[in-house]
Every structure is written in C-alpha cells, then in structure tokens.
C-alpha cells in the first residue's frame, strides 16, 4: 500500500467535459500532485476545498482517474451540492486532499479483462487502462445515459477494445443487461477477469450474473463516506462472512462473491 497523506493542494484546471451537449454537468479536474509514493487504479481520494465553511462538513470521495508527476486528475459528475461546489472551483483555489485511499482493482496482465463501467463509473478505468502492461487484453464496456462525449470514452477507446450502449428508453436497459450477461458469460468461459464500477443497481446486476455464470468479478462500491480512513464506520457494507466492512479501507473494490449488495 502506498503512503497516504493529507495535504492542501492547488487546483490546476477545471474543464467541463462534453460541454456541447450537456453543458455544466461533467468536469475534469486537475490538482497539483500531492507528495505520494504512488497509487493504484481503483484507489480514491477525499477532497474538501479549504474555502468550505461548516455548512457542509464532509469531504467528498472521487476515484483517481489519472496522475503524473505534476498532477492528479479526477472526473466528476455534478449530482448534488458538494459536487456542484467542487465543479465551481477555479484554477488557483486550494483543496485539502487525502489519499490515495482504499484498495485497488486486480491486475492480471495476461488474463482477458472486461471492464464494465456504468456512467461516471468509467473514471477509475482510465488509470487502469493507462497503467495496464497489456491493454490488448482489455475490453471496455460502457453503459451510459448521457451523450458519449460526456465521458472520457474516446481516450480509452484509442487504447483498448471498447463498446458502449446508451440508455435512453426503458427498453434500452433490457438490451444493456442482456449484453452484460452475454459478455460476463463470455469472460467466465475464458476464465477472464471482470472489473465493474458504477451505480449500485449496476453492481448488483454484475454480482448476480457473475454468481450465476461462475465468473471472477470485482465490483467497486460508492457508499456515503465521512472520514475515508476507516474510522467512522459510516460507509460499511456486509462482506462475504456477513460482517460489516468499511468500503473506504477494505474496499472500495470487492470480489463480487465476497460482498452483499
């Protein structure tokens, strides 16, 4: 596990994504790189702008999407008050960042690997694909609701085999689920590795098909978090033994048969 820290870092850039069709909903944020030893895809950070007063106490968790020597990139969707305020940060603003937090996705360079992303769940896969030694063994499947250019899909599709399906009408969901079942079956048959990130219902689907079809799958969970460091016990989920485990430290990534959803 890499060394963790809490630092005030500067916002380098806040860029709207997919602005033409959905202005003002998705943002790519680059932060000055804290003094980390390293990080792994699947890990996340907690962010709290230093300008926030006490009205909103908690930091917000975001997957690490990419990082280099100078900067750390996250990809956020505005869904509520906190994300709205983070999206309105400007270059030069200061945020407290702690991380890298949590565990990470399994990496099996030689194994056919299927990435299942539900919407913004694509965020950690950017780093996964970029760091993977054999991207030719990876396939990405993105199920999305908003126009494709809202997601960092193109970037990934240049590196790995990528597919996507949009959910616009109720019947689309059935097709998406059918496709997911098919692909999970395919990777189960190849003894592949399946990694999933997205909203909870999406994770439930993956878990159910993986169980049914005998696939090896990991799911990344998004539980409400206060501390991000395993102390408050607010983010727990039931693990394979039925015990409450902290998603922030025992997760966010769990083998699908070792977690209750």
């Amino acid at each position: 596990m890499s060394l963790r820290s809490c630092r005030n870092v500067t916002v380098l850039e806040v860029a709207p994504v997919g602005q033409l069709k959905r202005p003002d909903e998705f943002f790519e944020i680059r932060l000055a790189m804290p003094d980390w030893d390293g990080w792994k895809p699947g890990q996340f950070i907690m962010i709290r702008p230093t300008s926030w007063d006490l009205d909103m106490l908690w930091a917000r968790p975001f997957s690490i999407s990419a990082a280099d020597d100078e900067s750390l990139t996250i990809f956020i969707q505005k869904v509520g008050r906190g994300t709205a305020r983070i999206a309105s940060l400007k270059a030069g603003d200061e945020v407290a960042v702690w991380g890298p937090l949590g565990n990470s996705f399994a990496v099996e360079p030689q194994t056919p690997t299927l990435l299942l992303a539900g919407g913004i769940g694509i965020a950690p896969f950017r780093g996964y694909v970029e760091q993977h030694p054999h991207p030719e063994n990876i396939r990405l499947f993105l199920a999305h609701r908003l126009p494709l250019d809202c997601y960092p899909y193109e970037l990934l599709s240049r590196r790995v085999d990528s597919r996507c399906m949009i959910e616009e009408q109720p019947c689309d969901l059935d097709r998406i689920i059918a496709s997911m079942r098919e692909q999970i079956a395919e990777y189960a048959a190849r003894d592949g590795l399946i990694l999933a990130c997205g909203p909870t219902p999406f994770m439930r689907t993956v878990k159910a098909f993986a169980a049914e079809l005998g696939a090896r799958a990991q799911v990344s969970l998004e539980n409400r978090m206060a501390c991000g460091v395993g102390a408050c016990l607010g983010c727990v989920t039931r693990d394979g033994d039925g015990h409450h485990a902290q998603v922030c430290t025992k997760g966010p990534v769990f083998w699908s048969d070792k977690v209750e959803l």
Binding site: L3, R4, S5, C6, R48, L54, D55, M56, L57, W58, A59, A96, W98, N223, R224, A226, C227, G228, V229, G230, A231, C232, L233, G234, C235, V236, T237, H243, H244, T249
Partner: protein, 305 residues
Amino acid sequence: MDMNVTFGGLSLKNPVMTASGTFGFGLEFAPYGDLRKLGGIVVKGLSLKPREGNPMPRIAETPCGMLNAIGIQNPGVEHFVTKALPSLPWRDVAIVANLYACDAREFGELAGVLSGEEGVAALEVNVSCPNVKEGGIAFGQDPAQIARVTESVKKRAGNKPVMVKLSPNVTDIAVCARAAADGGADSLSLINTLSGMAVDIRRRRPRIANVIAGLSGPAIKPVALRCVHQAVRAVDIPVVGIGGISCAEDALEFILVGAHAVQVGTANFLRPDFSFRLVDEIEALLGEIGAKSLEEFRGSLELPL
C-alpha cells in the same frame, strides 16, 4: 506555553483528545500525523462481545452537523487489547478506552478486563449512546442508573481513573453530573450526541436505517457549551468538553467555561490531520489572546452579577 494538564488521574501533554467513534483505534490516523502529538486518544466504543452495529445507512450530513447511528460496531474488548493496543504508542499518549454495555454488571466486567492493561490510561464510560435501541437511552438519562454504572465500573477499574460521559438528552444535566460524581467518577466528559433525525421527502424514508440517530458537529456546540458550563458548576470533579469543536477558538471556549481538556469528534472528518493541527493552533491562540497560561485561562469566564 505550558500545555500540560493533569486532572482526574490523567496527565496529558496537552488538552486535545480525540472523541470516541471518530478516531477509530487511533491507528487509522497515523498516516496523517504523529499520534504522540495528541493529549489523548479515546478509542471507539468497546463492548464485551464483538458487535456488528446498526444496518446501513448509518450517517447523514445536516446543516453544520451530521447524524450517525453506528450502533457501537466493534470487534470486542479482547480484540482491542490483544490486536490494537500493542501497536499504539501508549507510553507517549494517553489511550482512553470507551466502554459500552447494556447493564451495570457488564460495565463492571469490561472495566475488569481493562483494569490490568498497562496501555490503558483511563476508562470512559458511555452511558449515553442514543443510537442503540437496547436500553441505551434509558441509561444515560436516568441519574440513578448513571450512579449505579459508575460505581460498578469504579469497583472493577483497579487504579484506572474513570471518566463518565454524559448525554445531553436530559432535562437537567446538573443532576446527571452529580449522579456520576456521587458514583465515584474521577472526571466527566460531555456531551455525547443530541438525539436527532433526518428524512428523505422523495423516497419518504428516514435517512438513517435506525430512524433516530445522534447529532454532532458545530451545530451542537452551543448546547455542548451550556451543558459543560452547568456541569462544571454542579460538581467538584474535572470536566472534559466535547461537542462541535472545529477550530482552536471553539476548544478555548470550553476551557474558558471550565473544562480541563476537550475531545474532538466530527471535526476529525473535516480532514484527518485536524486534531494534530489543533494542538499547535490552541497554543498559538492562547498566546494571541493574552492568556498567561492554560491554567490561568481555564474557567476564567466572567459572569454578570
């Protein structure tokens, strides 16, 4: 400035302690600061047997505060003593065990287990957990029970000092404070969370599975200060102030009304290095406001005639 404080059988290098349930067993925060910098660490509530705690969701954000109903999830006192305590720098920072039980006998047993542990500096008795349905409420809200539990813990605590943690959800906090003092408490700590609730109008459901939960954070600071003020005046034993501390000024407010030390809870979630930073900030602020010493400042609130 000399930041040492000695009270109720505890000797701390500064008045900053971390509050139970908000700092894990301490080790979770080791990456973010030197644990030995703190005055004390009160660990997560411990019960005799491991507890899974309440169902999810357990936490919710509220204006300047938060609700929690964790339900004292913990691996049990045995696990703490054998697995966590040895890794803690207990020679250099006071480790306070927070005891949770559902009757006086069980409290006594817990105290018995911990009384022989060199690494434990004191026992804090949680008679107030408002989260847990099995009798939690009744306890800390009934002065007779507070006295009985305190006696029971004291009897089995050996030479460990006993700090009794009071609930603010009572008609008269002074009566509860006196009950703990009469029961033999070496010190008091207060407040625990206020009993509160939040609902989601769209899903028409409570935001917390347990329905009723504990409110903490800056929102409750005025209530906490009032309770500490009343407790300090009600008893002769020392008092530790808890509730909504989110900056050095807040901490000094509790000391001004007479607290010997403070505990930082929810603010540890503002950033994990919060309590470490607070130690220096308090020292600096004391100088800035012209206090001669911590002791001179403590309890120096001037009341109108």
